[in-house]
Amino acid sequence: MNADMSLGSVIRSEWIKFRTVRSTLTGVFVMFILTIGLGALIAWATRSHWQTVSTADQVTFDPVSTSLIGIVFSQFAIGVIGSLLITSEYASGLIRTTLGAVPKRLMLVSGKLVVLIASMFVVTEVACFAAFFVGQSIFSGVVPTASLSSTSVVRAVIFAGLYLTILAVVSFSLGLIVRHSSATIGIFVTIVLILPLISLAIPESWRVHIVKFEPSELGNAMTSVVTPSGDLSASRSLLMLVIYAVVVLGAGALLFQRRDA
C-alpha cells in the first residue's frame, strides 16, 4: 500500500490549505494592485513632470526600476502572506492538527516552503513583468523607455520577482520563530521599512558601509539596470538576500523542530 506520508503528499496538502483561505487570495490581489497600480501611477507622474526634471536626473533615470517601484509597497502584502502561512495555524491551533497528520516537522516546513516559493515566484514574476510593460507604455513617447531585448533589463525585472519571493520566505521564517501574526508582521515591517529610516541617523561615513546591506537597499540594487552608486552589484545583492533568508529560515526550522507545539 503506497499510503505513506511523503514530501509530495505534504506539498499537496499544504497547497490545498494555501489556496483555500481568503487571506492568500486577498494578499495576492493586493500584491498585484500595488505592484502594477502604484507602478503605473508613479510612471504617469514621472511622465507628466518629465520637463521639470533636471538634466542630471534625466541622464541617470532608470525606466526599469521606476516601473517596478510598486514592489516597495507590495512587499508588505508578500510579508503578510508569508507570515500567515505559519502564524495563522498558531492563531487557530490548527498547527496541532497539522502536526498530528505530519509529525515530521522538517518535512512540514519543507512542504510549506515549496508551496510558498513556487506560488510566490509565479505571481510576483507575472506582476513585475506586467508592471514593467505598463510602465514602459506610459513612458513611451516622452520619457526614455527600456526593452527586454537587453539582458540586464530582463535580469532587473526577474530579480524584482525574486526579491519579493525571498521576502516571503523571510517573513515565513520569522513566523516560525515568533508564532504570532501581528508580531511577525511588525518585525518584518521594521526590517524592510524602519531599518532604513534608523540608518539615516547614523553618521554618513558609517552609513555608506551599512546601507547597502539593508534588505530594501538590496532590493533597490537588484531591480536597477545600472548598479546605484555605493550599492552591491545586483547578483551580489541577490546572494546577500538569500543568505539572510537562509539564516532566518535555519533558525526558524531549528526552533520549530525543538519546541513544543
Binding site: 506520508m5 492538527t97 498530528g100 509529525p103 516537522r105 513544543d260
Partner: protein
Amino acid sequence: MIKIEHLTKRYGDTLAVDDLDFEVRPGVITGFLGPNGSGKSTTMRVILGLDHPTKGRATVKGQDYASLRAPLHEVGALLDAKAVHPGRTARNHLRALAASNRIPFARVDEVLGFTGIDSVANKKVGNFSLGMSQRLGIAGALLGDPEVLLFDEPVNGLDPEGIRWIRDFFRSLANEGRTVFVSSHLMSEMAVTADQIIVIGRGKLITQGSIDSLTATAKGSVFVRASDHEKLISVLKTHGGDVSEANDEALSVSDLTSDQIGQIAFDADVVLFELTPQRASLEDVFMELTADSVEYGSSGARNER
C-alpha cells in the same frame, strides 16, 4: 495500543506530568480522568509528539508518534475541536488533512456523512457551533480509519443529544476492536462511557482499573423500589447487602451492584419497579482520590496548557 513509560514533562518550573506509567488496551474504552490541570492534555500532547517529554516516553503500537509512516492511518486524535482555520470550509479542511497522508478524497465525503455534517461541508468552519466543530474533529480523526483513537474532553460543551451520539460512537469503535482513549474531568461522564479508567492528579497516577472495581471501592449505593420490600430486604441481607430505607417507598442498597440486586430479586420472585445505581458516590470517590491535587492546583502554580 498506547504505552506510557515513566513519562515526565516539565514546563519551566511546573511539573505537569510526573513519572506516569500506564497502558491503554484495544477493544475497550479507556477513560482518562483527572481534575483540570492534572496533566491529561499534556500526556495526550506527548503521545501525539506535539510536546517533547522531559523524561520517559510515550509510544503508539510500539513506536514514537513522529516515526509513524502514515500517522492518520494509525492514530486519530481530537484534542481541540476549535483547532481549525475559521476561514476554511469543512470539506477543504478535511481534504488538506487527507492529502497529507494520501487518503483519497472519497473518504472525506464518507466521514462527513458518517458524522452527519455533510450538509454544512461547504460552509466555513468559523461559523460552526461547538457541536458541529466536535463532529468535524471526529471526522478528521476517522479519516485514515485508525486503530487507535484519542479524544481530549470530547463532550465539553455538547448538548445532551451530542453527548449521547458520542458515547454510542465510542462504544462502536471499541466494539470494532479499536483502542479508544478519552479524557474527561467528569467522573459521572466516564462512569457511563468508559470500561477502564485511569485517574491522575498532579501529573501522577492515582489509580487505574475497571469501572466495576472502582465502583466496588466506592461503596456506591443502589436506589431500589420493588413489589415486596420485606422479602427483598431479607434476601439481599443473606447475599451480603447493606440495606436501609431511602424513604417510605424505596430502599438504598450498598455492597451489591445493580446487576446483583436484579438477579437476586428475580430469583426471589420480587418485581423491581426501579433499580438505579447512585453515581454520586462514585463521584465522591473521585473527589476524594483527587482532593489533594485539586487543592494543590487551586493554589496557583498549575495551569492546563
